[in-house]
Amino acid sequence: MTLWLMAGLLFTPLAWAVLTLLVDFRMGRAVTWLGILVQVLVSLGLWAAVASDGGFYYLLGGWQAPLGIELRVDGLAVTFVLLTALVAAACGWHASVYLDPGKSWHRYFWPLFWFLWAGLNVVWLGGDLFNLYVGLELISLAAVGLVALGGQAAALRAAIRYLMAALLGSLAYLLGVALIYGQFGTLSLADVTALLSDGTVAAGQTFPLVLMLFGLALKTALFPMHGWLPPAHGIAKSPVSALLSALVVKASFYIAARLWLDLGGHLGGYELAQLIGVLGGLAVIWGSWLAFRQTKLKQVVAYSSVAQIGYLFLLFPLTWGVTDAISLQAQQGITLQVISHALAKAAMFLAAGNLIMSVGSNRVDALAGVSRFLPFSLFSFGLAGVSLMGLPPTGGFAAKWLLLQASLASGQWWWLGVLLAGGLLSAAYVFRVYQASFIDNTDTDHFFHPPKSLEVIPLILALLSLGLGLVAEPVLSVMALPFEGSSR
């Protein structure tokens, strides 16, 4: 059963990418709906299977690592697969209403969308360092294509900038992979970890790890390498922005996190961990501050991503040289942060798109009166904002809580300031938007009212993000599931 599910999972996005490439926008839309249905069902099935039976390794082509490529299907991976399915489904559904079928280039949205999805699944499940590289490239190029889709100069500039950063990042990562392979002779992450753990290779080199982390951090837009992100995420179509912010940056972070958790203990060091943590902290502060200063709505949201990504990098200091319990707490916190940010940020971008569509301008101060005439769209935006602020009972809060606990328990109290100040700063930019929308300077409803389906989607995502905090315990328990015995 799980084998079938796996095949479905790997096959569907790629197949639908091809299918939608061959048809026009409207047809592609219909096809996509079907594909989304299939993919969501498959993801759910896989998640349920892993939740009940535990994780396993999936051998592609029937070849074991290190010769072949193994997929690592554990609780965390399937959780992210499911998350991807949900968010991508929402974005795809939104795009199918949001995008104008009359523009010929919009038909290419669907194949790129599906390739992106496929790439994400590759990354979540990947256990092979080079395979991850290919997955990353798949994601990057699809994402760049989506950003540039039919765009004008500004969009192209953003896309090129994005592409350049992504390429440099990939290359740094690949160089690291090359060195790792040179040293260990294998590309399987599990093998490398095993070799390090059982002392076969006593003195691992730190530099490859640093290279890979650098590349991945660049792709994740860690401060101060975040410059490419806001233009790209800000200028893309809202469903695209949502995908990029919610999922794409998480992919590179996910790899970095897995590398760190597997290799960091042997190849990393306290200074490296702290340095990354400090950069993350600065990202939180600086990103929030810049978000607060933006005049365009989507730029606010985009800079907010920079800040929220900063939290993720607290994983590094909080898992280095601490007890397993604290490390687990930090991992759980970061996982929740990834999920809740994905849901919330997708909701926020989609809601922002709706708002922009309604008011006919992308400026924050054009939102006056929205609260009165378009409360529904604003509500989703607001709910998502609550999660970003880390206020209870959202997933963002649950994440923050766990990180606070981990910081306190590990004695690294300096992260407390980041966590708390970050929450307040994000409140600052979120409330700036609210505030603008609460200005009551018009008595006439001159706004365009988007279709209900557009408005419902971000609301659902926002509610999921909100509810995540309440059901954090069961979700986390699936993530922490061990592999079923030693299946390999």
Binding site: E137, V144, I160, L163, L171, A178, G182
Partner: protein
């Protein structure tokens, strides 16, 4: 120290040069070239390092082949983007447009490639 390691070190040098070019150059095509240079360096390191034992290792070679295709795809995409960007804005760097964006007449832009 085998001859293959020399390739690896050549790769190292290429990486360094490529990196310098990548961060130093503003012209997008040149930047792209620097990227390709760096890519070559990486491939050299990969293959050279793996072959230090003497016998050739087909795995990194296959990887490099895949890497090359990916790099080609990326480069091609970048070139397409850069060309279109040039046509639309008349710019060949990523600098934010000044007060008066240099906008060539569309017909000209259509004709001439981004050849500076």
């Amino acid at each position: 120290m085998t001859i293959h390691l020399l390739y690896a070190f050549a790769g190292v040098a290429l990486c360094g040069i490529g990196l310098f070019g990548f961060i130093r150059l503003d012209h997008l095509l040149r930047k792209l070239m620097a990227f390709n240079l760096m890519g070559s360096g990486v491939f050299l390191v990969m293959v050279g390092l793996a072959q230090r034992g003497g016998q050739p290792d087909p795995v990194p070679q296959a990887l490099v082949l895949t890497g090359i295709v990916v790099a080609v795809a990326a480069t091609a995409l970048a070139v397409v983007l850069i060309r279109r960007y040039y046509h639309l804005s008349g710019q060949i760097t990523l600098a934010e447009p000044g007060r008066e964006p240099v906008k060539k007449p569309a017909a000209d832009a259509h004709r001439e490639g981004p050849t500076e």
